[in-house]
């Protein structure tokens, strides 16, 4: 008979779990579910950080990515940038501590938002190869380069510095960061797809990429200026939740509830603040720190129901319709038709967001194995971005995908069976930017299905779809026009010969006149839109007349 355990025994076993230990066991939550994806994650986290750093420092990014196959299933990922660099004291924690970052507590559009990304790669590398992550950072051209070799102490969630020195050797140019990570992984083309897509959504960035086999590809910039820096936004009352509000109430230096509301929130003026207090049945003069639980709950209700202006939108930084189009044309120079749409900002849960859509139609199929019999067209390729970061996994779980499927593509002259993705030689780009993109998990692969987001995405797609549709019907009309003129031309020889016999006018002469007439009809048709309808209407009239008679 086994001995019964006592509560004291359990107590001995119960202990704190560090965040790092938790993620050590749950690597998949951070996106490291398999070797292919793990390698991609390492590249992605490093590149995203570089882009964020350059952008915030107002530097046009120049990023180099190199992947080397060290031995079977082990790769060295090396990413360097021309960013502002990181000061010596911060380096260990930025790369060696989970949940450490500058972006979590503020409401501003950025690629990273949680402070997990790059340190999770350090953790993963340490778990799979044991090789420390190497970091070079240079802040000013005159200063030395700081060099670190780092591990992550999982029990404490603190960095372990393996080696540290200041060196003279030029590693990152005048300023910037380079990071080398040796990880267990598997190389697939998805890495290149990610870089190509990143280049689309960051047209101001130049990215040089060296694949494991040594081939070097450069993705040039199509824009020489950085986008306008998004502003940091104060929280909007419509998105308030209990915990956050409680913290804000404690921290505030405002003395009254009224001033708390006007100072700490966006879009709240005196008028709205008074209305919130009225709905919440709270005294405007109450000291913020003195509100109790039930008052806070009332306050939330007031904040959510009161009429408040929309949040400001200068905290968003879209790619921009013209820029996106230019970028797509650069990336797909052979595309027949490219268009893009940037919608006005909308709001979900008090967070402003904005949708952009791009369409690339009629490009050279990459695989030419298709023969005529297999001409059934493939479904389109959907390229998703969130805050300029490509989303490469979990397409079917994503709200953006749901919105694409929800659109009736047949209206825009594409084939679509049921509510699947449409078919055709097309790539569809959908970009959501927001101060807080609602991802379904920490690995940031799929956007959660907020109705406002789905609705707005659909509207954006429909805007772009209409442009595509008018292009396609114009193209079809032009094609038809060409065919009919070819037909008139084809018959002209026989008609001229016959008319010459009938009228006794020399064939050459008749033919010349007929060709001139056909020619004149081509010229009229060159701006086909208007003439075409007239011609068609004329024909319809002929037929109608014939029927009438």
């Amino acid at each position: 008979m086994s001995e019964r355990k006592k509560a004291e025994d359990f107590a001995k076993e119960q202990k704190e779990i560090s965040v790092s230990e938790f993620f050590e066991k749950n690597k998949h939550l951070l996106g490291f579910d398999n070797p292919t994806k793990s390698l991609l994650m390492a590249v992605k986290e490093a590149v995203d950080n570089s882009l964020d750093a350059c952008e915030e420092a107002g530097l046009v990014p120049d990023i180099t990515v190199k992947i080397k196959n060290v031995k079977e299933d082990v790769y060295l990922v090396s990413v360097s940038d021309n960013g502002p660099g990181i000061v010596k004291e911060q380096i260990p924690r930025v790369f060696g501590k989970l949940l450490y970052g500058s972006k979590f507590h503020r409401l501003k559009q950025s690629r990273g938002q949680q402070g997990i990304g790059i340190s999770s790669v350090t953790l993963y590398s340490q778990l799979t190869t044991g090789v420390p992550t190497k970091v070079w950072s240079k802040v000013e051209s005159k200063k030395k380069t700081h060099y670190f070799e780092l591990h992550l102490n999982t029990a404490k969630n603190e960095p372990d510095i393996v080696k540290e020195e200041d060196i003279d050797k030029e590693v990152v140019g005048e300023h910037g960061v380079r990071i080398d990570m040796e990880i267990h992984g598997r190389y697939r083309k998805t890495v290149e797809d990610y870089i190509k897509q990143t280049s689309i959504s960051n047209p101001f960035a130049k990215i040089s990429y060296t694949a494991p086999d040594g081939t070097k590809t450069t993705f040039p910039r199509s824009l020489n200026e950085l986008p306008k820096q998004p502003k940091t936004m104060k929280p909007h009352p419509h998105g308030m939740e209990f915990g956050i509000l409680q913290r804000l109430l404690q921290k505030t230096s405002s003395r009254t509830l009224l001033s708390f509301l006007t100072n700490e929130f966006s879009s709240v003026g005196n008028q709205s603040a008074k209305e919130i207090c009225k709905i919440a049945k709270l005294d405007e003069g109450t000291k913020p720190q003195e509100l109790d639980r039930s008052s806070i709950e009332k306050l939330i209700k007031g904040m959510q129901t009161a009429k408040v202006q929309r949040p400001p939108t200068d905290c968003l930084s879209p790619i921009g319709s013209a820029e996106l189009e230019k970028s797509l044309k650069k990336e797909y120079p052979n595309a027949e038709f490219v268009t893009s749409i940037t919608r006005d900002p909308e709001v979900y849960r008090g967070f402003p967001f904005l949708i952009e859509v791009g369409i690339i139609y009629g490009f050279e199929q990459e695989s030419k194995k298709k023969n005529d019999e297999e001409k059934r067209e493939d479904t389109i390729e959907l390229i998703r971005f969130a805050n300029r970061v490509p989303l490469l996994y979990q397409q079917s779980a994503c709200a953006l995908t749901e919105a694409v499927k929800d659109v009736d593509w047949r209206r825009y002259n594409l084939q679509q069976s049921g509510s699947n993705l449409p078919s055709g030689p097309m790539k569809l780009v959908v970009h959501i930017c927001s101060v807080w993109v609602p991802f379904m998990s920490e690995s940031k692969e799929a956007v959660a299905a907020y109705p406002e987001i789905i609705k707005e995405t659909k509207l954006a797609i429909q805007d772009a779809g209409r442009k595509l549709s008018s292009y396609l019907s114009g193209k079809r009309r032009a094609g038809e026009q060409k065919r009919r003129l070819q037909m008139f031309d084809r018959y002209s020889g026989e008609v001229s010969a016959a008319l010459s016999i009938l009228s006794k006018i020399p064939e050459k002469e008749v033919e010349k006149k007929l060709k001139a007439l056909i020619e004149s009809r081509i010229h009229i048709k060159e701006d086909f839109a208007d003439e075409e309808t007239k011609e068609v209407a004329g024909e319809a009239k002929d037929v109608k007349e014939a029927k009438k008679k």
Partner: protein, 359 residues
């Protein structure tokens, strides 16, 4: 009839070239040949074309090819006229069929495409196919005391032995030298013609005997009309006693819907129906030689009841209703039930003597 066909075709060509010069959409105006544009002219007693027309344009996707085909046929015909030769409609098809340059498209794919174009040209120019020097196979035979001239040769219809003269499609080109007859007897079937020819019926009864071999050809109808019009000979039609036979008579007398545009040239409104009638079956005791009428016969008979020219005559109404009611029909050969010479020696002489005709 004396129309300068060459000139008509030339004018058509000149008009089209002028339209091309004026940068207009060249077109040929063609009266519509459809039931909706066919009317029964009670005064004339024949089907005629209404005045609805359609225009065939060159610059119209739906018309262009037919436009080309129409001018091709017109120019082909003009060349025939210039050389004074004839061509069958099949010859024409092969002559005009070719592949258009830089394509795999043919001017004509089948004869069924070129045949209707000829009729289009006929209605558009108001000129008969025969006048366009386009011929069809000979169909129909004739015998009688008649001498004609055909391309310079004299032909005596009474001296053709066991056969008769095969009726060509270009009947308007023959001239009559001698016509010694009191009426024309048109027999629907070649077998009936053979019977009566062998029995020298035309000699004994001073008539012209015509065998149509089913639905009469345009040439045969034209010949019937000429004999009726030019020599005032009464025309009696002798057909099977069924819907099809009645309809043959109707076509000879009033014209057909598909050829309504030429009714005035080939219909013979004065033609009368001699037999066989359903009443004859009872009158001449042929009950045992009848055939049961099929559903299609009954259906067709019901349609005939509503034809204007059958409607106005109570006797016809009676005959057709009888067919529907009794559900029987009879071929002219049924008369042989009463003996091989019953037709020529008893039935026909009696009918002619009694003037027992349907109009």
């Amino acid at each position: 009839m004396v129309k300068d066909v060459k000139k008509v075709l030339e004018n058509l060509g000149i008009k089209l070239v002028q339209e091309i010069e004026k940068k207009e959409n060249p077109n040929i105006e063609i009266p519509i040949r459809a039931l909706s544009n066919v009317v029964y002219d009670k005064k004339l007693g024949q089907l005629t074309l209404g005045n609805k027309t359609s225009k065939r344009y060159y610059f119209n996707v739906a018309h262009a090819k037919k436009f080309m085909q129409t001018v091709m046929v017109a120019s082909f015909s003009k060349q025939l006229l210039e050389q004074n030769i004839h061509a069958s409609i099949r010859d024409m098809f092969y002559n005009l069929k070719r592949t258009l340059p830089d394509s795999d498209e043919n001017t004509f794919d089948e004869q069924s495409e070129s045949d209707p174009i000829i009729v289009d040209l006929e209605v558009a120019t108001d000129v008969l196919r025969e006048q366009l020097h386009l011929t069809t196979d000979r169909k129909g035979i004739v015998a009688g005391n008649v001498i004609i001239q055909d391309r310079g040769d004299n032909i005596d219809w009474s001296k053709l032995g066991s056969g008769g003269w095969s009726i060509p499609s270009t009947v308007d080109e023959i001239t009559f030298k001698k016509v010694d007859a009191e009426f024309v007897l048109v027999v629907e079937k070649n077998a009936g013609f053979e019977r009566l020819h062998e029995d020298k019926f035309w000699q004994k009864h001073k008539c012209i005997l015509i065998g149509t071999g089913g639905q009469p050809s345009r040439g045969t109808r034209l010949l019937i009309q000429r004999l009726n019009g030019e020599f005032k000979l009464p025309v009696y039609v002798f057909c099977d006693s069924d819907s099809y036979g009645f309809y043959i008579y109707s076509v000879i007398k009033s014209g057909s819907i598909s050829l309504a545009h030429v009714s005035d040239r080939i219909a013979t409104p004065e033609a009368k129906y001699l037999g066989l009638t359903i009443s004859d079956i009872y009158e001449y005791d042929l009950k045992k030689a009848t055939i049961k009428a099929k559903d299609v016969d009954i259906k067709r008979a019901k349609e005939l009841l509503n034809y204007d020219w059958f409607k106005k005559n109570p006797k016809w109404q009676k005959e057709i209703n009888l067919l529907i009611e009794k559900g029987i029909k009879a071929e002219i050969e049924a008369l042989s039930h009463r003996g091989l010479k019953f037709m020529s020696e008893t039935y026909l002489p009696e009918k002619l003597k009694k003037k027992d005709f349907l109009d």
